[in-house]
Symmetry: C2
Subunit: 348 residues, 2 copies
């Protein structure tokens, strides 16, 4: 980035799993920061966090914290965003919110820069960062929708525990060691912190991410369904999702079935689309056992696509395997990327 | 079972992951055994294995091993079955083969007793036990097909390492401990023993089970597709599968999407069907976070079904989450169950 100008930036939720990655990403991208303010709930206030070789102290967020802030990155839970994002906007900041608080609000753009960067310019102060599992899927679907049309999406997810925060990652670590020691597994966080029942995640799979809705779908599944339609500007597109939490730390994987609009599409055509798409890395060669895995994708900013196959019964059907680091492209990197686009286009 | 008569039984592959479970199941079911012969490749010959309080010695299989054997349970790999199953049949045994060697042979019934027990009676000596991931799925699909019709099946699997044998389970254990110790992960078995490349399974997901076919699908995926059609007697049924190996030891889980034939079907109707189906246990109540998990299903003989939801865009579409112990209903128990039906019906 060119640094003609620098900005006062606030990171709200700086000590969380995503907040930490936001700081790393801002540092790695050499983001044009004038002053960096780290904010949090009272619980984490006072903690020290390293940034560009210095130790910064996390402050408790108040409405006044946002005076003179131009860009505020929120990732401290929906209730914090609901309380403070309007205060930040009132004081002139552009808020990039990584919670679900504003995603479906009509006047809030929901943005994956490779997919719908143009939506940013209509923002009224808040720009929403989509759900992690949505981001990587729409990044892969967008070039397909553009070139081949998209009639249907059906996804089953394989999601990392870090999506539920650092406590969930600690729980996986502790339970895994207990299991290997032949000890009992104690479950207190997953599947959903604060829910009535908790189940072990170590050496297990939990088909619940976030709370259940009245229709029997989980909130995570409904997020994938609704956000995909909003980001792709395709309210009529049928999208179905089953979301599953699995015992790995980083990166979500997705088994995605799609139906395209055009007849006679080949696997090679979709491979080429993926190979040329921004933010996508094609890893697809059965002959050399080349395909993306969560462990491989961890720490990388791209979305990796492989296992592209034509459905054996449906001329329009294709299967894809989509993997990306849920804390980077799924959260921190996508948020910083939005901030970069805001600056580059002067959409402040 | 009534024990008017007892049988000479051979277990081929007695020291493997499935073989061990076969012995446990024979013992637990009080199977009417006169003489039990444990057979294996030369590599495992001489090992001692406990059965009904005695120590039995594993012998190297030869054609003559099958003299006077009435029921032979094979689970020592396809090449062993190909070599010795015909020898056993020649000597008057009924072979129940848990490998893929004979599954698609036209004159070999492929059987899940709850689904197509009647097919057993046409056997020519060999009865094939389906692939683990297929068995649990067709057990859930059969009552739906019978009552509501079935127009389409689309499955993404979440499969345990024990499906790749004891060595794969050891590999997961060793790698998990290494990961927790901050050490490097050594991969020598998974995704497929003997393949060129091996990848870590600990805290990871591998979208390859068995070798790749020319069409880009893995053999595991093609097994699910072809075996499902054969067992359900539905060659025209569209079946698609994506198979993924995950870091847990026991039980496969499956995210299954189906389309039924009848209009206006409700979730409650499918729940009732599952609740009354033989071999199926319904675990489906979002209000109490009730759904099947691999860890819960381990060591049990049933197939567990939950997360039943109507598709939001397709009147005929439903989503199910199907879990079962891959070594029991997926292998050992289904084989012993076939043997029990052979005896009960005098289909020897």
């Amino acid at each position: 980035m060119s640094h003609n100008h620098t900005y006062n930036v606030a990171v709200v939720g700086a000590t969380g799993a995503v907040g930490q990655k936001m700081l790393e990403t801002l540092e790695e991208r050499d983001f044009p920061i004038n002053q960096l303010k780290l904010l949090s709930s009272s619980r984490s206030a006072g903690k020290k966090v390293p940034f560009r070789g210095e130790e910064l102290t996390v402050e408790e967020a108040t409405p006044e914290s946002f005076e003179n802030v131009q860009i505020a990155l929120f990732s401290a839970g929906g209730s914090v965003s609901k309380k403070f994002a309007p205060e930040a906007v009132k004081r002139g900041a552009v808020v990039i919110d990584n919670t679900s608080a504003y995603r479906m609000a009509e006047d809030v753009p929901l943005v994956v820069p490779e997919v719908n960067e143009e939506d940013i310019k209509n923002h009224q102060g808040i720009i929403a960062n989509p759900n992690c599992s949505t981001i990587q899927m729409v990044a892969a679907l967008k070039p397909i929708k553009n070139e081949l049309g998209l009639k249907r999406v059906l996804v089953s997810t394989y999601q990392a525990v870090s999506g539920a925060g650092n406590e969930a990652a600690d729980e996986l670590r502790d339970q895994s060691q207990a299991f290997l020691n032949g000890e009992n597994l104690e479950a207190e966080i997953l599947p959903v912190k604060g829910e009535k029942n908790h189940y072990p995640i170590a050496f297990n799979a939990l088909p619940q991410i976030d709370v259940f809705q009245d229709n029997g779908y989980t909130f995570e599944e409904m997020k994938m369904i609704n956000e995909t339609k909003k980001i792709l500007h395709a309210q009529e597109l049928p999208v179905a999702a089953t979301c599953v939490r699995l015992p790995f730390f980083t990166s979500h994987a997705e088994s995605v079935y799609i139906e395209v609009d055009r007849k006679g599409v080949t696997v090679e055509e979709i491979r080429k689309l993926m190979d040329h798409a921004p933010g996508i890395v094609l890893q697809d060669d059965p002959a050399t056992q080349t395909y993306p895995t969560p462990l491989d994708a961890a720490g990388k900013k791209d979305v990796f696509v492989g296992r592209i196959r034509k459905d054996l019964d449906n001329e329009y059907g294709f299967h894809l395997w989509v993997v990306s680091d849920n804390l980077l492209k799924g959260a921190a990197w996508n948020s910083v990327q939005i901030a970069e686009r805001v600056i580059a286009n002067q959409w402040l």
